[in-house]
């Protein structure tokens, strides 16, 4: 494992050009969550709009390292328009990837850019960075609409 393998081009790209990093205005029925990584202080605020089991929009803002920023960006891309069910399955797959436990055979198909984070699993201290945005997503889409969590 070396630096280049961990920081894949895809990761650095997302880091430099994060997607959906631009909080949409809160609308009625939206959910906002705020997550913090207590070991380093990195934060993410995420807003999601779920209508009839479908994630109509995910936007976010946050402060953090390349890994947390890039992985949140990737997550936001994958989550737009997905069903809640699918998004939870994606999250589960990404968690497995991060725990280095191996993923389903079609993981790279469904995780798309997310698969670039496989190398992060080698660095336990960074796993939390990669999970920050995903855990915020999971939290947001399993809440009642209208909740704001600090």
């Amino acid at each position: 494992m070396n630096l280049e393998k961990m920081y894949q081009e895809i990761i650095l790209d997302h880091y430099k050009h994060p997607q959906f990093k631009n909080l949409a205005p809160m609308v009625s029925g939206g959910v906002e969550v705020h997550h913090i990584n207590p070991t380093c202080g990195d934060e993410v605020t995420l807003r999601a709009q779920v209508v009839d089991g479908v994630i109509e929009s995910v936007t976010w803002d946050g402060l953090g390292c390349s890994i947390s920023q890039a992985s949140t960006s990737v997550m936001a891309g994958l989550a737009q328009g997905a069903t809640v069910e699918n998004a939870l399955e994606l999250t589960a797959q990404f968690l497995l990837l991060m725990q280095g436990k191996g993923v389903s055979t079609d993981a790279d198909e469904i995780l798309e850019d997310g698969i670039a984070f496989a190398g992060v699993a080698q660095y336990p201290a960074r796993v939390k960075c990669a999970l920050l945005g995903w855990m915020a997503l999971k939290d947001a889409i399993t809440r009642e609409p209208g909740e704001i969590n600090e």
């Binding site: 207590p38 070991t39 201290a125 960074r126």
Partner: protein, 416 residues
């Protein structure tokens, strides 16, 4: 696979200290493992390996060493958990059983305690508790106004359960008691008492200092809520203890020690706390000691807890049988089944003097009140002499003890 019996002579070779001599060349006969046990080379090597190869602050760094230290420390937690049939996140490393019990008593009397104390509430203990499971509750009683009540001890050294249905009542908020007595060797009926206490909604705390080192303990089977024990009494290093708790209970408890690594978010004014076990492990932890304790558990498991329990039973049964034939010697505590703590009195000779004669023969026993002063009063004595056995003790050690006592009787002219 652990064998069903063990060879103490061979095990002894793993314990460098047991090879030494004392008092001018006398072979050491160590019968004080109830106070603290000796350590096998395997434990010392494990600690050393941690320091020489993986030492860094766990949970705190992003470099390779910090990862390794975290892995070693968390790996130790897994070993402890599986040893007592618990979940990993239910195991908290403390410095000692004493800290574990204080943690519980402080947390359960803090403002955010899951117990909201009401006037007349009771904490139930027993008359045979070690000071470590007595004084923290006396202090809790000062803070909360709770009344301490005590399950009495019979002349045979068993818990007297005659009035248990009034002692455990709807005012009982906590029942805390020892699994095995460090003085009498009594083994208490944990499950039965825990079930009675749970029926009235009390929290059940077990002091397992004298059981976990000596027999297989499964927290689920015991049906308790919280349990404390010390590493140094089970072949582990000094400076490490364990508090186990059912996750739901731990999660409901506020922190005790506060500081680094147990928080979520901190401002100057306030802080939010991590989930257990981190919530209860403030500061850079006793990593090397946790690793050493895991190695000790590995050693115990290799020998086999059942073999250890059987071996100790063997020794203590033989010792009791021999002591009972000696004029002027009285054994305290139940005949059996019992743990390996063996307290006795020798007519006309104060325990200090018995201990001194034994020491002169190289035999290390403990004399005094064994940090169970109220129990001494219960038996109307100031002190006893106590021998405690462990996996490395032999029948020869028992023989030495018996001859030593005989010598004391001769020396003080009390032998008939």
């Amino acid at each position: 696979m652990p064998a069903s019996s063990l060879n103490a002579e061979i095990l002894k070779q793993d314990f460098p200290l047991l090879g030494r001599t004392v008092r001018g060349g006398k072979k050491l006969v160590y019968l004080d493992s109830g106070a603290t046990s000796q350590k096998p080379t395997q434990v010392l090597e494990a600690e050393r390996d941690f320091y020489e190869n993986h030492n860094a602050a766990a949970h705190r760094g992003a470099h390779q060493l910090a990862e390794e230290a975290t892995e070693a420390f968390e790996g130790a937690r897994e070993v402890v958990a599986s040893f007592i049939g618990a979940q990993t996140r239910e195991v908290i490393f403390t410095k000692s059983a004493t800290e574990s019990l204080n943690l519980v008593a402080y947390s359960l009397s803090a403002a955010e305690s899951p117990i909201q104390w009401r006037p007349g509430d009771e904490v139930l203990l027993t008359e045979m508790e070690h000071h470590a499971n007595l004084i923290p509750w006396q202090e809790l009683s000062k803070r909360t106004g709770a009344h301490l009540r005590f399950i009495p001890v019979t002349d045979d050294g068993e818990l007297d359960l005659t009035d248990i249905d009034t002692l455990i009542n709807e005012k009982t908020r906590i029942l805390s008691f020892t699994h095995a007595s460090n003085v009498l060797g009594t083994v208490n009926p944990v499950r039965r008492l825990a079930d009675l206490a749970h029926a009235v909604g009390a929290i059940v705390v077990l002091d397992a200092c004298q059981s976990v080192p000596h027999e297989a303990v499964d927290v689920t089977a015991l049906g308790i809520d919280l349990m404390a024990f010390s590493g140094h009494k089970m072949l582990g290093p000094t400076g490490v203890g364990v508090l186990w708790g059912r996750f739901e209970i731990l999660e409901s408890m506020p922190p005790f020690l506060t500081g680094g690594s147990m928080i979520e978010v901190v401002t100057l004014e306030s802080a939010t706390y991590s989930l257990p076990p981190k919530r209860f492990e403030a500061g850079v932890p006793n990593m090397a000691q946790a690793v050493g304790l895991a190695a000790a558990i590995g050693y115990l498991q290799d020998v086999g807890m059942h073999a250890i329990a059987r071996h100790e039973e063997d020794l203590v049964t033989s010792a009791i049988a021999q002591l009972e034939t000696m004029p002027g010697v009285t054994v305290l505590g139940p005949a059996g089944p019992r743990g390996g703590a063996l307290s006795f009195l020798v007519d006309g000779i104060h325990p200090h003097d018995v201990g001194q004669v034994l020491d002169d023969d190289g035999i290390a026993v403990r004399v005094g009140h064994h940090c169970a002063w109220p129990l001494m009063r219960r038996f109307g004595v100031a002190a006893t002499t106590r021998a405690t056995f462990y996996l490395y003790n032999t029948h020869e050690d028992v023989t030495s003890l018996i001859s030593g006592i005989r010598r004391a009787q001769e020396f003080f002219g009390t032998s008939s």
